[in-house]
Symmetry: C2
Subunit: 298 residues, 2 copies
């Protein structure tokens, strides 16, 4: 498959979706062009998905990879409470990769894009030994309303959406709902949009609760105390719920006087602890909790 | 080097530059946040630089790689006539890569960023067997003023900035000015900003004149006739000027009644032909010119 043929195929997929308001030039030029409206902020994120690091071709179909590549970036938009607008998809792949694989990858990615009506606005293509995907997503929020990591305050409740540890358990069991959760993570876009009206701070859980909470505390210059009542996914262990990555649930904080709803966008919310004023110190049921989540370079 | 240490180093580099107007949240959160002003368009591009495809560690220093990774994306902004605003840098690399290499990479990238006062707003980090960089750049243009590929009209003059074939010649000779041009390409940002007032269409020359001109003609649904007077770089052949990639000069079209300046932003401009109304047919001195430039997948 030559580059021009591949671009033609991608453009075909890209044109299946009605253009999102504001995107006035998509696939085919040197850059995508977005015409922003006043009184809103745009947010941007980019995430790698790399063969033999984030997936293997033995265990993941082309569709799994396309879904996951976009879902990871969308999860970052959810973490900001942003509405998705468009994505750029860069794909490097070895010569042996077949045309059905490429179609399966883009079809699945566009299925997920279609659910949020976001445009595929461009990207880059290259050769590499391992399949390497980098997806950049742009989202929008009302001016000054993005959920940040740096704005949690001592006394705030710490909450999470959904259940924890499922993705890590799926990586071990390789079957059932947890394996599906691992292969096809669902970005919590709707929950993020609703949470930004009540949350003081938020982020997504990509590398495990212990490490991600540590990062939130570091950015907010505070500490945290967890009371030990975690919403552990069926089939997962406490260890997996605390330190397992790729759940892509949302971790957020809420001011103490605010009532926490039981559910939001169909997802259960659980209060798991509170923010303290001791920088970086995190405890679980009184014992120190070390950030043992997934460090990509350990 | 652990991920948190690496992020701290990157954030240090990112904070060396004064924040570009509009960027209200940079490195450290799930997304970068940009607050756009009305009456302007934002443009977005992303480009890979991959070890053993775009460079080798034998021939390119960390600084060469950092420079080239950002320069490739900036060249796409130049091709739209856009002013650079910020970049996201995603880097995947093998464990054996040293801390001095990482410092050299980011230092050189930030040197180039500093020249255009653009912020490093975020990115992603991952492990991979080959060094893989994907740089996303955002730029701005006045509303509706981005230089597109699709707006050339029959009768327009076809022009290029600078000289052609130098980067391809440098790849062979591996010394002198052409080798420097290959390793440290200069994005034509200033020229792009000035050209958008006179050009009808434009793009950057990344994959060779013959292939890139073919792409411009395809987007504009027209053809082209070249008269054979190309500005060939010293030490380069006609073949290299026609089909060699990575010159990162600008290819643009100008309405027939408009006078073409001899120089713009210090760069010579050369009229090399004219747009015709025969879709996709390109001739050089009367003979058909095939698009033999660099197809990444041939």
């Amino acid at each position: 498959m030559r580059e021009t043929d591949l671009i033609r195929m991608i453009r075909g997929f890209a044109q299946q979706l009605p253009g999102r308001t504001g995107l006035i030039q998509g696939v085919g030029d040197d850059c995508a062009v977005l015409r922003p409206r006043p009184n809103e902020d745009l947010v941007f994120t980019t995430d790698f998905v790399i063969e033999d690091r984030h997936f293997t071709t033995d265990t993941h179909t082309a569709g799994d990879v396309g879904h996951k590549a976009l879902a990871r970036s969308l999860s970052d938009l959810a973490a900001m409470g942003a509405e998705p607008v468009f994505c750029l998809v860069s794909l490097a792949f070895p010569q042996k990769l077949t045309q059905p694989w490429l179609r399966g990858f883009y079809k699945s990615l566009m299925d997920l894009a279609g659910r949020y009506k976001i445009a595929l606005a461009g990207g880059d293509l290259a050769r590499s030994e391992r399949i390497t995907v980098d997806v950049m997503c742009c989202g929008r929020t009302a001016r000054g309303r993005a959920m940040l990591r740096s704005t949690a305050r001592p006394g705030d409740s710490i909450c999470v959406t959904g259940e924890l540890g499922g993705a890590a358990a799926g990586l071990v069991s390789k079957h059932g709902p947890n394996w599906l959760r691992q292969k096809r993570p669902q970005p919590r876009i709707e929950a993020g949009l609703k949470l930004r009206t009540i949350a003081t701070a938020g982020m997504d859980l990509s590398d495990g609760l212990s490490l991600d909470l540590y990062r939130l505390c570091e950015e907010s210059k505070c500490g945290a105390t967890l009371d030990g009542r975690l919403p552990i996914a069926k089939g997962a262990s406490l260890e997996q719920a605390l330190h397992g990555g790729e759940d892509y649930e949302l971790l957020f904080t809420v001011a103490p006087q605010v009532r926490i709803p039981k559910k939001i966008a169909g997802l259960p919310l659980t209060r798991i602890g509170a923010i303290t004023n001791t920088p970086r110190k995190i405890t679980l049921a009184g014992e120190p909790l070390r950030p043992l989540g997934f460090d990509h370079f350990r």
